[in-house]
């Protein structure tokens, strides 16, 4: 990562070169704007959208759907994951159902959700929650199960109750797994919200994208793609920010040197 200002400049130069090549290719091959627009026309569409205040309300809608879905989906995933991790009986009965649902592409359920919950906010939130649910639930289960046997024995030797073992050992121990799940869940929630908007919606970036598709405003669609990836980065950064605060003790991701394997080499 830290390679100095020269390589950072080279990196920017590389991106600029790619954009220039794209611009030139569109001009040279006379590609129609409704197939692939030039970067300059995408930037112009973006500028137009901003000055006409086109995006703001749609971005707001997509963000609120994503965040609400994230919170609802993650809360349920954490609760169910905890129950499954702590109770063998619950695990035994729920496991086949969980496996079935996990194998199913969740976005395929979105049309049904729209039928059941309408075109408004509720259906988008449910869709986002559903897609965000599984990565966090799986990580919660794995994380809670990952407590080191020596540490469990230590807690037991102190006459700790089951609740204390959960609260003082299993839960903090699971936090790195849970945060990894949360990072995925955030991006997945955005996917869930966008898919629901694309299929049928009154508001949101997905809906805007769909309406631009009908008018063959391809440059506009590209501008939304750009907004979406910035949005994804910001939402992901939000979780990473909280993780750094909470998991100050977890060095496994910064240095990639966790207790089991300290010789995995550089990640970057």
């Amino acid at each position: 990562m830290s390679r100095g200002p020269v390589s950072f400049a080279l990196r920017l130069l590389f991106i600029a070169a790619l954009l220039a090549a794209w611009e030139w290719a569109v001009f040279y091959f006379q590609t129609p704007a409704y197939i692939v627009p030039a970067p300059s026309s995408i930037a112009y569409a973006m500028y137009n959208g901003i000055v006409t205040n086109l995006y703001v309300s749609h971005i707001g809608a997509t963000i609120s759907e994503t965040l609400l879905g994230f919170v609802v989906g993650c809360a349920l995933a954490f609760m169910l994951g905890t129950v499954v991790a702590l109770s063998r009986t619950v695990e035994y009965y729920l496991y086949p159902i969980i496996i079935m649902f996990q194998a199913m592409p969740k976005v395929a359920l979105v049309p049904l959700i729209l039928v059941w919950f309408g075109l408004g906010l509720t259906s988008k939130v449910i869709s986002a929650a559903l897609v965000a649910f599984f990565p966090l639930m799986v990580n919660t289960i794995v994380g809670l199960h990952s407590a080191d046997e020596d540490r469990v024995n230590l807690m037991r030797s102190l006459s700790a109750t089951r609740w204390q073992i959960f609260r003082m050992l299993q839960l903090p121990n699971a936090m790195p797994y849970i945060f990894a799940g949360l990072e995925i869940a955030m991006i997945f929630a955005l996917i869930g919200a966008i898919v629901a908007e694309l299929i049928s919606s009154e508001r949101g970036l997905g809906m805007l994208m769909q309406s631009m598709s009908f008018t063959m405003d391809v440059a506009g669609q590209f501008s939304i793609l750009f907004i979406l990836s910035v949005l994804g980065l910001i939402l992901n950064g939000l979780v990473t920010f909280v993780r750094r605060k909470v998991l100050f003790w977890d060095t496994s991701r910064d240095a990639d040197a966790n207790e089991q394997s300290s010789t995995k080499g550089e990640v970057f």
Partner: protein
Amino acid sequence: MNAQAEMRQPAPGAVISVRGLSLKYGRGAAGVLALSNISFSMAEGEFIAVVGPSGCGKSTLLKILAGLLPQSEGDAELNGIPITGPRRDIGVVFQAPVLFPWRSVLGNVMLPVDVQGLDHDKMKQRALDLINLVGLNGFEQRYPRELSGGMQQRVGIVRALIHDPAILLMDEPFGALDAMTRESMNVELQRIWMERRKTVLFITHSTVEAVFLADRVIVLTPRPGKIGDEFSVDLPRPRKLSIMNTESFGTYVRRVRAALNPGGGGMD
């Protein structure tokens, strides 16, 4: 049980008494006998070292005494009461330091206080005193990852002392340290023991460490683990590392070695 109760009076002053203890992993013919017919008792304030090679069942013995593992046969009593589960008057030090990375040094030392709901303010002063005793003053707010292996193990020892247990069970606590750190830890442990006068059962695979530390050495021979020899070490305390060069020290070490290698040891 009733008929035998009178015969099984523990030796007067015995803190721990073990009679005819056996442990079998698995059932039937496929079961493995880990411990066979172990009997010994520990007087109050006594330092006993159990020495034996890997796989002789010494850790298993410690787990039974810590109440983490039920024995298959025989009796294990603490102050005349059968050990049926973890007890608060026992402190355990494990092979690895087994620290919680999300707790500071002070937080790790205070873990037994949190688990057992002891007076936090009173125990905090005690924790700071003990941290001082092992020379970790100034490191109270550091996290385990910032400490060396020897420092981490000292935190583990202090944690076992914090709730002032009468008995300390130590399972190869210095096994993972380099030879030089290990020797200085032995001197330090002797000092702590002489200051605090706990009853200590110290498990090790080092003959030298066993003779250096113990009032009495129990030699366990493997497959199945049974007592091969047992003798008192009459060397004056405090013992210095230089005592290892004396003739009488060498005699004790040879005695352990003879019990571990009845055939003389070696191939030549």
